[in-house]
């Protein structure tokens, strides 16, 4: 069964702008898929539909077999706990340490502190930030902040990792490093779905590429 399945999905924003037009595709478990397209093509909107941040106007969005487009508001948090989200604009909390940022998804789900701390450190170790756990995220470089976002996204051991422009504003060496990290997660079975406009980056990977053009899938 596909982990993500869109059929005839359209999204129109209030005001009439049609971000997505009759999108249909599916992603199998364990796949690594790139979503690309020009800026404003609808990449972010598509990711938001998967995470139930936005709802489709038409069509069906299935995530892990659940119909997200008709999901009750109270069920959405439990859907998101099974997703790893790497947001555009990072959305780190600067009033707490690196460690506490990674702890947040585990605190929210009510994990016992000891177990949560162990998993948070393991996640930080995977992205190479373990020795910075006490630092404030402000003091991290752009690449490090992006790695911190990834640590926060994987700390819940999600089956599906969604990333929106994870390499934006990073230089090529850092971008390759970040992509290598996603590749490593994919090799241990995590489904990875990455939206990026960086075609050069995609060229280095031999994976499926979905291309959006003005809200339509090419």
């Amino acid at each position: 069964m596909a982990i993500i399945s869109f059929s005839q999905v359209s999204k129109r924003y209030p005001g009439g702008f049609e971000a997505l037009k009759a999108i249909s595709f599916s992603v199998e478990p364990g796949e690594m898929v790139f979503l690309t397209g020009h800026s404003g093509a609808g990449k972010t909107t598509l990711l938001k539909l998967i995470a139930a941040i936005e709802r489709a106007n038409h069509g069906t969005v299935l995530v892990g077999g659940q119909n997200v487009s008709v999901m009750r508001a109270a069920a959405i948090p439990y859907l998101r706990r099974n997703l790893g989200l790497v947001f555009q604009g990072q959305k780190l909390l600067y009033d707490r340490s690196v460690f506490d940022n990674v702890m947040l998804p585990l605190v929210v789900t009510g994990q016992p502190y000891r177990e949560a701390a162990r998993r948070a450190r393991a996640a930080l170790d995977k992205v190479g930030l373990l020795e910075r756990e006490k630092a404030n995220p402000v003091t991290l470089s752009g690449g490090e902040q992006q790695r911190l976002c990834i640590a926060r996204a994987i700390v819940n051991r999600p089956a599906l990792l969604l990333a929106d422009e994870p390499t934006a504003s990073l230089d090529v060496a850092y971008a390759d490093e970040i992509m290598e990290m996603f590749g490593a997660f994919n090799r241990v079975g995590v489904t990875v779905f990455i939206a990026t406009h960086d075609r050069q980056l995609i060229g280095k990977w031999r994976t499926r590429v979905l291309t959006l053009d003005h809200g339509r899938l090419q």
Binding site: A51, A73, P77, R80, K91, P105, V108, G110, P112, N156
Partner: protein
């Protein structure tokens, strides 16, 4: 269940930490609530004391029964037994016209005045002490006495008792109105405080919502914050009122010494103080609830 309890613990600790992080604004908030609530709480205490005092002062509700000039000793004797036999009468004291005149003479400067009188103008009288302070009872007894033979005039203090009762009733109504108004103020203060807190924690709320926090998890710290603000405000109000009562009590005791009576203020009981704190916490929660549903849930789903 354990995870749920852990959430509550974490929320409470976070809320306390948040209050402690900005001690000055917390203090000002608590003082604003405390000062506002001290008014109705203080007024309530004063009213309770006045009621106690009024019971003390007019414990002896009295009716004076003046006899007609032509009353004979036999009439007086039969009247005395009739008065004593009336329901609601505790004691009857006879004051003869001669005793009354002697009493009058003792007043300052009255001796010369009395000396000019050719005959005693005062009537014989009974002073009747009633067993209750009920104005209706006093009224009924007064009317009953008026209809007795050889009774010229009945003078009761039931009018005075009624006036006092009416005044106390007025006081009670005023305290209720004042309380309602200032409870509204408490709700408004917590509403606004929580609104500001929500705005400063916008990022955190958004991130938590995106990583799978339930609505209850996100709202909970704000409910705690509102309840805590109400509770601390209530505590501040109680401290203000207890301090004021202690000062007043000292002055009142000195006044009592001058009058030869033991005047003491009644302080609120533990049960009453617990009720006040409970109400304050509930009102704080209400303000938080209102604020959360107004501001938090609106940007949860855009």
């Amino acid at each position: 269940m354990r995870a749920w309890l852990r959430h509550h613990g974490v929320s409470l600790v976070q809320t306390l930490a948040r209050l402690a992080r900005s001690p000055f604004s917390t203090l000002l908030n608590v003082l604003a609530i405390g000062a506002a609530l001290a008014l109705p709480v203080g007024a309530f205490c004063i009213l309770v004391n006045l009621e106690a005092l009024s019971r003390y002062v007019s414990l002896e509700s009295q009716v004076s029964v003046f006899l007609a000039g032509n009353a004979l000793p036999a009439d007086i004797a039969s009247l005395a037994s009739q008065l004593k036999g009336t329901n609601g009468v505790r004691a009857v004291r006879f004051v003869s016209r001669d005793d009354a005149l002697a009493d009058l003479k003792r007043g300052a400067g009255m001796e010369e005045v009395v000396a000019t009188l050719r005959r005693n103008p005062l009537p014989d009288a009974f002073v009747v002490t009633l067993s209750g302070r009920d104005p209706a009872l006093a009224d009924r007894i007064e009317r009953q006495f008026k209809s007795l033979p050889k009774v010229a005039h009945v003078q009761g203090d039931s009018v005075w008792v009624r006036r006092l009762d009416a005044l106390l009733q007025l006081g009670r109504t005023a305290v209720i109105l004042l309380s309602a108004l200032l409870c509204l103020a408490l709700v408004a203060v917590t509403f606004n405080t929580i609104r500001l807190q929500i705005l400063t924690q916008r990022d955190e709320i958004e991130v938590c919502s995106l990583i799978g926090a339930t609505r209850a998890y996100i709202c909970r710290p704000f409910f705690y914050l509102g309840s805590l603000l109400g509770l601390l405000g209530g505590l501040a109000a109680l401290f203000i009122v207890l301090g004021a009562l202690a000062v007043l009590d000292r002055d009142l005791m000195q006044l009592g010494v001058l009058y030869g009576i033991d005047l003491r203020l009644r302080f609120p009981e533990a049960r009453e103080m617990a009720a006040i704190l409970g109400i304050c916490a509930a009102l704080g929660w209400l303000g938080a609830h209102w604020s959360v549903s107004r501001y938090l849930l609106t940007f949860e789903r855009r």
